[in-house]
Amino acid sequence: MTKNGFWFRAFNLYYEGFRNMTLGKTLWVIVLIKLFIIFVILKIFFFPNYLDEHSTDGGESDYVANELIERAS
């Protein structure tokens, strides 16, 4: 990877960009906290996949069919 090569320059763009951030550092901290809350707390503890939990593996269509037919009666 030479210094004038594309990959080095691409890496360097991100490396120096992140290193010299000022406002960006605050924003990244907020983004990471937000992503942690969304993907680790909310997704795992509050938003499970409903069909995975209430139907057998591969039986989702049967479950939904029952739901759709039963709710019409």
Binding site: V31, F47, P48, Y50, L68
Partner: protein
């Protein structure tokens, strides 16, 4: 609607809807500003590219900084909507199949690769890449965001106007039969044009407001004036464009969601030569017929006509709600019979008979869940006023941008007329010069008005979404799946818990964003 709910708790539906609305409204605070600011910073950098002065570079970087704050705060807020689909709306999620999944997946890929690449070049690349490549990256950042919006709006449009699909009773999913019918449906095109162009209004109002704040503070006056000059052109173009695209959307809605149009107008008894209500009792003659059919005497059905059946403009008969309900029940029974016959290893002829019955009546499938036809009427009060707020504010933006455009560009004759009129009504001192340009062209009250326009622009944009989403009630998928069938059988208490978690989280995040944004605005450009 509670009389329709069988085993499902009424609170489950209401809270699931409220939670989805809260998340979508919060997400939509960031998206339009991203789309709008992208255009304005693109123009600012284009001028820098041509002039190569530090003034235009600093001006561009200032707006890019505010864009960055908004962009960072908006990142991933839309993901929560997808979580809600899987948990709260599981029947819906399964039923829509890959039709909904495909556009969302494309959106995710485009957003990740295109935006993350070009956003990085835009922020980190000022000294690393050529001016031309940097300019291209800035425009492509905006293009990436706009393309992302396209796919999200395609997914939403399919729910409002399901095309390019076929229902498979074995998998219980709608399967895509034509990607292009889904991606280029007329509903999606109208929605995209209207939504994106109206988002530019928010970007323009924001830039004009921030610039006016600098004018009031007598700081960075040159940057403020030049930014207003860009934003007002974008804003005027967008406000006029939003009117035109809104008119086109109205025509599409008249064809595919006539009940939404009737609810927007609180029109119970339709007819030809229908006037457009400004408020109850005051109307523009022929306005509604014009809006819906592009003719002065076009027939527009009212709510009662839609419930009782009517003859459409093309001469075909639209069945009554009772008939649709009956046919919907036949479709659901045919589905049940088909699946039972399949499980019992019935012969092909029996299966084909059930399938044929299902296919014949499938267009009214969702009506089979309706017990009282009055439940097919969307909330009238909300639709009626949300539509008027959106259109009224849209007209206000045309006047607002038009006036600033005339004043700040000192348009010959028009500027003089405006100044004399403003003087006559006391909004400019009588001693004011007939000619003014730059900061002098912006009277103090207009600067304050510009700042007040920011919440109004958001109100107009969110009102548009209220019309779009409340107007299609009770359907999650038009004519196919009502909300009380789409929702998961959850305890309402668990949804209430997450609703309030979101409320706290979103309010906190919004407070943080506004705080950072205000700090960055106060800091101003590094001029």
């Amino acid at each position: 609607m509670t009389n329709l709910i069988l085993s499902i708790d009424a609170g489950t539906i209401d809270w699931s809807r409220a939670q989805f609305a809260l998340t979508a409204i919060y997400h939509w605070l960031f998206v339009p500003l991203t789309l709008g600011l992208a255009v304005i910073m693109g123009f600012a950098e284009t001028i820098y590219y041509k002039k190569r002065t530090s003034f235009w570079k600093e001006t561009t970087q200032f707006w890019q900084r505010l864009f960055g704050v908004n962009f960072a705060m908006g990142v991933a807020t839309g993901i929560i909507l997808e979580f809600e689909f899987g948990t709260n709306w599981s029947n819906y999620s399964w039923f829509v199949g890959d039709i909904f999944g495909a556009p969302l997946a494309i959106e995710g890929i485009v957003a990740f690769f295109m935006e993350s690449t070009f956003v990085a070049v835009m922020f980190f690349g000022w000294k690393k890449v050529s001016a031309g490549f940097h300019l291209a990256s800035t425009w492509l950042t905006g293009a990436g965001a706009t393309i992302s919006a396209w796919w999200i709006l395609v997914a939403n449009s399919w729910m409002q106007y399901p095309v390019g699909c076929n229902f498979n009773p074995d998998t219980m999913r709608n399967e895509m039969t034509s990607f292009f019918d889904v991606a280029l449906s007329p509903f999606a095109i109208d929605k995209f044009c209207h939504t994106v162009i109206s988002s530019w209004i928010i970007g323009a109002v924001f830039v004009v407001a921030v610039s006016c704040w600098f004018l009031l503070k007598k700081r960075h006056i040159c940057m403020a004036v030049q930014s207003i000059r860009i934003a007002v052109v974008v804003g005027l173009f967008a406000a006029l464009g939003a009117g035109l695209t809104g008119h086109k959307s109205g025509q599409t809605i008249a064809q595919v969601q006539p009940m939404k149009l009737a609810a927007m107008e609180a029109l119970y008894e339709g007819g030809t030569e229908q006037g457009l209500k400004i408020v109850e009792g005051i109307e523009i003659p022929y306005g509604l017929s014009m809006m819906a059919t592009n003719t002065l005497d076009g027939y527009v059905p009212g709510i009662n006509n839609l419930l009782n059946g009517y003859i459409k403009n093309d001469g075909t008969i639209e069945p009554s709600a009772d008939e649709k309900i009956q046919r919907g029940k036949i479709a659901i029974q045919a589905l049940a019979d088909y699946r039972k016959a399949k499980a019992d290893d019935a012969d092909e002829a029996t299966l084909a008979e059930h399938l044929a019955l299902l296919e014949t009546n499938y267009q009214y499938f969702g009506y089979g869940y309706v017990k009282d036809k009055k439940d097919l009427i969307p909330p009238i009060f909300l639709n009626f006023w949300a539509f008027r707020i959106m259109v009224g504010l849209g007209c206000l933006f045309i006047l607002f941008f038009g006036l600033i455009f005339i004043l700040i560009y000192d348009i010959p004759y028009l500027s003089l007329i405006c100044r004399r009129l403003l003087s006559a009504i006391g909004l400019l001192p009588e001693t004011a010069s007939d000619k003014a340009s730059g900061a002098d062209a912006m009277p103090q009250w207009l600067c304050w008005a510009a700042i007040i326009m920011v919440p109004l622009a958001y109100l107009a944009s969110e009102s548009g979404w209220l019309v779009a989403e409340f107007g299609r009630q009770p359907w999650t998928i038009q004519d196919m799946l009502p909300t009380w069938v789409a929702v998961s059988d959850l305890q309402s208490s668990s949804i209430i818990t997450t609703f309030f978690i979101f409320l706290i989280l979103f309010t906190t995040m919004l407070a943080i964003e506004i705080n950072i944004l205000i700090k960055q605005i106060k800091k101003g450009p590094a001029l």
